[in-house]
Amino acid sequence: MSSRTVPGSGLWKGMWVLLYTMVRTIFKPKKYLATVNYPKVKETPVARARGVIALDQEACTVCMLCARNCPDWCIYIEGHKEEIPPDKPGGRIKVRNKLDRFDIDYALCMYCGICVEVCPFDALFWSPEYEYSEAQMGDMMHDMDKLQDWLATVPDQPELEK
């Protein structure tokens, strides 16, 4: 712990820290500036950042796992069964589930990522996009088309530490 020194030296030490911070921030802003001019300059979030959930409609099989595992009950899914004609004549008629509705209420979502994790068919992804705030809380409900749009922003897999 600090021992008794010249009175005022502690005050001066603090002032010195601010002085050199000021000087180097003014003359070398690129290196020392801690903040950015937000709407003009943007920081890139890390690749794993949980910004918004993107949906791949083609991959979704309406298995409801995400909606059931959601702790907040903020995913709403509806679907129906659809028959697909066989690829070649005489083949079997396939039945697949078609997605009718896939809404995520981001006003309720707590960004835990459980839905992305439990999805067995790789239909849900995290995207680091974060600029989708709305003036009305109701507008935070993203429908399946909007969620599909986010898919383009999903980054590639980053490398892992050796």
């Binding site: 601010l18 801690a34 794993r48 990522g113 980053p158 530490e161």
Partner: protein, 396 residues
């Protein structure tokens, strides 16, 4: 009108009271107040600048997590325990996950344990840096805020780079840390191991953290005004602190080496070389100083740990649907704020039967009526701030 002899004698004996009769004023500090860290409310009876009978009123942020946990599955609960002490969300997960693993009798792979340790210590650094930022602000000095938060941001970026969440990582799974996303065909889902460059960035960030500790030392520790404001203010003796259940740096500042990282052996802390920081006087300055030293210790711990991270799996073999067998246990861990524990009662289901959350700030704050008796208004703020509480941790 005549005055009789008795009255005259009586009047001559009356000594003039120089004590001015003043009326007490009830001062309501909070729930909206700059230094109550959210929604704490203090009702104080003040006589001038001196306060008596300070009663904290809490519950403005009570979210009932113990009830919510009863209707959730185990993986879902880690998402809500993140939000208890949100400045160190990661550290909250550890005791809960450890409790569930203990009842399941799971052995966690060493690599996962090391990752947990590194991230917990990062959460500790973040939490203490928030204290480093807010405490001088409560005493009136604004600049340490930005110095501390700048480095915290760097550490949070690292945490986010690994877990995906800055405040609410939700990165622990029963049996390890987060495994690969999904099991489908596409390759865009990632394996959640440490990302490339993590070791390098962490080393650089820890160097910067140690550097900013020196800057904070210069800005705050030597400052005569800070010393005058904090030394000898809000002294809490060990026995009082213990009977109120104070823990963490608040208790260690009183001189007890009560550190659950040494005592409970829940993560490989024993394999690292570090010291328990203790103060001597138990005043506000010591509590500040202990936290500053703990940042240094944690930074050194992380620097050692990243050299020792073993290879191997990050997840033990667990069933896809977690069911914890019947059992009861209390597991506590050293959170940045103090002892955080979960009394977990399970009965084989997908979710627990009862979770009692023992949060550090709740007990730390309960000493306020004792500690603030007869304090000056500025000292109320100084003592309250030095306890370093988070309202989410108090109200749960």
């Amino acid at each position: 009108m005549s005055i009789d002899a008795d009255t005259i004698r009586h009047l001559s004996e009356v000594s003039v009271s120089v004590e001015l009769q003043t009326e007490d004023m009830t001062l309501n500090i909070g729930p909206q107040h700059p230094s109550t860290h959210g929604v704490l409310r203090l009702v104080a009876r003040v006589d001038g600048e001196r306060a008596f009978d300070v009663q904290p009123v809490i519950g403005y942020m009570h979210r009932g997590y113990e009830k919510l946990a009863e209707v959730r599955t185990y993986p879902q609960i880690t998402t809500i325990v993140n939000r208890i002490d949100w400045v160190a969300g990661y550290a909250n997960e550890i005791p809960f996950i450890t409790a569930a693993e203990k009842i399941m009798e799971l052995e966690v792979p060493p690599r996962a344990q090391y990752i947990r340790l590194i991230l917990t210590e990062m959460a500790r650094i973040c939490s203490h840096l928030v204290f480093m930022a807010s405490y001088p602000l409560e005493l009136g000095a604004a600049s340490p805020l930005f110095f501390a938060l700048r480095e915290r941001e760097r550490v949070l970026d690292l945490l986010e780079g690994v877990t995906g969440g800055r405040f609410h990582p939700n990165f622990n799974r029963i049996g390890g840390v987060k495994p690969a996303y999904g099991s489908g065909s596409m390759t865009r889902k990632w394996v959640q191991d440490l990302p490339a460059g993590f070791y390098r960035d962490t080393r650089a960030a820890m160097d910067r953290v140690l550097e900013v500790c020196d800057e904070l030392d210069n800005l705050v520790a030597g400052n005569e005004i800070i010393l005058a404001r904090t030394k000898g203010v809000g002294v809490i003796p060990v026995d009082v602190a213990a009977s109120y259940g104070l823990s963490g740096p608040n208790l260690r500042a009183s001189g007890v080496p009560f550190d659950l990282r040494k005592m409970e052996h829940y993560l490989p802390y024993d394999e690292l070389d570090w010291n328990v920081v203790t103060g001597t006087n138990g005043d506000c300055y010591d509590r500040w100083w202990c936290r500053l030293q703990e940042i240094r210790e944690s930074a050194k711990m992380i620097q050692q740990a990243i050299d020792q991270v073993p290879e191997g799996p990050i997840q033990a073999k667990v069933p896809k649907v977690i069911k914890v067998p019947k059992g009861e246990t209390y597991v506590r861990a050293e959170n940045p704020k103090g002892e955080m524990g979960y009394y977990l009662v399970t009965d084989g289901g997908n979710g627990p039967y009862r979770v009692k959350i023992r949060s550090a700030s709740f007990s730390n704050l309960s000493i306020l009526p004792w500690a603030l008796e007869g304090a000056l208004i500025p000292d109320i703020i100084a003592i309250m701030g030095s306890l370093d509480f988070v309202l989410g941790d108090v109200d749960r």
